[in-house]
Amino acid sequence: MSSRGIAWTRPFAAIGRAAGGFFAAFGRFGAFFIEAIRSLRDVTTWAPLLVGQMKKLGVDSIPIALFLAGFTGIVLALQASYTFTGAIPLYFVGTLVGKTMILELGPVLTGLALSGRVGANIAAQLGTMRVSEQIDALETLAYNPVAYLVLPRVIAGILMFPIIVIFADVVGITAGWFTAINLLDMSTEEFVRGLRLFHDPFDITYSLIKMTSFGLIVTIIGCFEGFTTKGGAEGVGIATTRAVVTSSMLILVFDALWAVVLLQP
């Protein structure tokens, strides 16, 4: 084959390699996920570690979630007022703050923040354990490492992320109300009127469903990247970055997916 012919095939070969790599990684993740489900029966291994992980991944993440939600609520109230500019009654500020916090910004911003805090932490910790043979050591001591390391983290994420988002929603809306009555010349009655105007109890269910899925995504991706870490410190760095990037992207994908599935009339 001429060199010109070889050059022509290179882009296709590169695409083929990339596609092959993607499907191989997808297959490895599928096997890891199935192994996690199979390990659920090893309750005596993961259950005693669950409360500790709920504190570490959940309770300890509440301050950052509340910080984000508080400032988001302030900005939402001010931007709503700025956008309405007298054409729309000001009590709609309450509607916009409530709906946006509960349906979108509460779960998504909290999810993205926790993909950095929780996902990176898990990937770095398990990655370090992988490269220093601590995971192999667990296996030689007859522990199922998936039951010991993965399940407590994933179950804690699934249980705690929805609780965190409830706090975030409440703080975000409270910050929006505080801004409205102090900076926008609104009364509490007006803000609450707007808040209740289009409120649907399903909104909260929707927020919790989203956050549960984000809890699963952030923790399982962090665990997978940590478990499959190769090399030394550089490998741990790569795994940590991939955990944050992949889980952030999946949060946005699932955000759109839940909107399509659950919000379409």
């Binding site: 354990m129 220093s132 043979e133 601590q134 192999d136 050591a137 667990l138 296996e139 030689t140 001591l141 007859a142 522990y143 199922n144």
Partner: protein, 252 residues
């Protein structure tokens, strides 16, 4: 008894084990020596099912390790203590908690019995009073001894040592060698030691096998290996690269 027969293992294009065979008799101590990157640790990991062979047989106590169910494999691992090259201590736990892990998993011990076993294991490796220290507070030699204490805490029948003396000074190396012999004499364990330290291999082994290009090139008693005629083996044990090059050229 540990038996590995005609084991092949590759990682992608890289062939690591290529018809590797080795056996360790009950109560014996065999050292597997070879160049860095020869595949010694890969061979060791097959024995506890951390790696599966592409083909060949790996047997421990007559059980074929790759064919064991998950539960049976965990049962087998309760008979095997593994001393890792860099100790692989759980760095978020104290030394006592590290040692307790295997005992808790094995089950059937009261809290007092666990504490007793931990104290006994630490005394055996000359780390009295180290229960509440963290791995980060230990020197390299102390970490290796703590790793050994964790491996013996649950009373294994087999001990696998992965480079137990690498990176240690000569005195600490001699201490570790003495401990390996002590484990054999006091606990009656069957041991397989991975090392490239020939002095250590001569001191602790009944038999020595040399791994080269994925196979056992030579196996014998320490004296037989010391006086081996094969140029690669002689080059390795005497530290003479020119002999190794000559042997490799002759081997083609």
């Amino acid at each position: 008894m540990i038996e590995m027969i005609d084991v092949h293992k590759s990682f992608g294009e890289k062939v690591v084990l290529n018809g590797f065979s080795l056996s360790v008799e009950e109560g014996g101590t065999v050292s597997l020596v070879g160049f860095s990157g020869a595949g010694k640790s890969v061979a060791l990991k097959h024995i506890v099912g951390l790696l599966e062979p592409d083909s060949g047989t790996v047997r421990v106590d007559g059980q074929e390790v790759p064919k064991l169910s998950r539960d049976a494999l965990y049962e087998l691992r309760r008979k095997v203590g593994y001393v890792f090259q860099f100790a692989a201590l759980f760095d978020s736990m104290t030394i006592a908690e590290n040692l307790a892990m295997g005992l808790i998993k094995r089950g059937g011990y009261s809290r007092e019995e666990i504490e007793e076993r931990i104290t006994d294991s630490l005394n055996r490796v000359e780390l009295e009073g180290f229960q509440d220290r963290f791995p980060a507070d230990l020197s390299g030699g102390q970490k290796k001894r703590a790793g050994l204490a964790r491996a013996i805490a649950f009373g294994p029948k087999y001990l696998l040592y992965d480079e137990p003396t690498s990176g240690l000074d000569p005195v600490t190396t001699a201490v570790i060698d003495r401990l390996i012999l002590k484990m054999r004499d006091e606990l009656g364990v069957t041991s397989l030691v991975i090392t490239h330290d020939m002095g250590s291999a001569y001191r602790v082994s009944d038999r020595i096998a040399m791994l080269y290009e994925g196979q056992v090139l030579e196996e014998g008693t320490p004296d037989e290996i010391r006086n081996a005629s094969h140029p690669i083996v002689r080059g390795f044990v005497e530290g003479k690269p020119e002999l190794v090059e000559q042997g490799a050229a002759a081997k083609g």
